[in-house]
């Protein structure tokens, strides 16, 4: 069972790494939110896999569902924000937002 847990958490960490790499290096705002989505996939995989391995799958499922709801609200708000930024700057380049620096 420990091997199975190791396998799932290994891949979950990999997903988090891929998302973090994109967040740190890319410039397109939509790509950055795709990266946030990839990270959240890694986290939900870790939650459900740990629940399955530790015989707590019902609790893990309810946590995963709560996480999905939070994720949807986050994405809806973030994408609305991206559309507004695009209307103002006519670009999705994150470097243009450095104008906001005080």
């Amino acid at each position: 069972m420990s091997n199975l847990w190791f396998l799932y958490l290994f891949f979950a960490a990999l997903l988090v790494f891929i998302g973090l790499y994109c967040l740190l290096t890319m410039r397109n705002l939509i790509k950055l939110f795709i990266a946030v989505e990839v990270i959240s996939k890694g986290v939900s995989l870790a939650i459900v896999a740990t629940g399955a391995v530790k015989n707590n799958i019902l609790l893990a499922q309810s946590l995963a569902i709560t996480y999905v709801v939070v994720e949807v609200a986050l994405v809806a708000t973030a994408l609305a924000l991206i559309i507004n930024i695009y209307k103002k700057n006519k670009s999705l380049d994150v470097r243009l937002l450095s104008k906001l620096k005080g």
Partner: protein, 162 residues
């Protein structure tokens, strides 16, 4: 076990494609396929409710939101990424794979896990009785999201006068 490994590899490959593909529509579709694979993994872990939410909400709704945003921001593809990003990705990935393989096993033994016995009851009982406060918080989060979107798309006073 072999099927699980294939599904997990597919999940990682499509997630990486979602990040590396230049065409944003293709990237969003890769993300949807990754969500679908994650949903199948959840089904195989005996978590059908989480799987249904993952497939219907994340693979369905969020992909539609992404594609809608990409359509509304037509020049989004024109953002130039640094060349080194895609070239350096495999190097960093292999480096992380090695570190992950070496560290994760010892890390798992050190994580103090709560003693867990077999669960009693049904999913509904756990969700409604044990996690009631989560449900209240979910309603709050959804309301906050709706209000935020409404505020962001609010028309200016001048627009109304016209």
């Amino acid at each position: 076990m072999a099927i699980q490994i294939i599904l997990l590899c597919g999940l990682v490959i499509f997630s990486a494609l979602a990040i590396l593909l230049k065409d944003l529509i293709k990237a969003a579709l890769s993300l949807a396929v990754a969500s679908l694979l994650l949903g199948i993994i959840f089904f195989r872990l005996a978590a059908p409710y989480a799987a249904v939410f993952e497939i219907s909400v994340v693979a369905g709704l969020i992909t539609v939101l992404f594609i809608l945003t990409i359509a509304l921001t037509k020049k989004g593809d024109e953002v130039t990424e640094a060349r080194l990003v895609k070239l350096a990705f495999p190097v960093f990935l292999i480096l992380f794979l090695v570190i992950d393989g070496l560290v994760m096993k010892s890390l798992l033994q050190k994580i103090p896990a709560l003693p867990a016995g077999p669960e009693a009851g049904t999913f509904g009982e756990v969700l409604w009785k044990q996690r009631t406060f989560d449900l209240v918080a979910q309603v709050g989060v959804i309301l906050a999201g709706v209000l935020a979107v409404l505020a962001l798309f609010r028309k200016k006073e001048e627009d109304k006068d016209e």
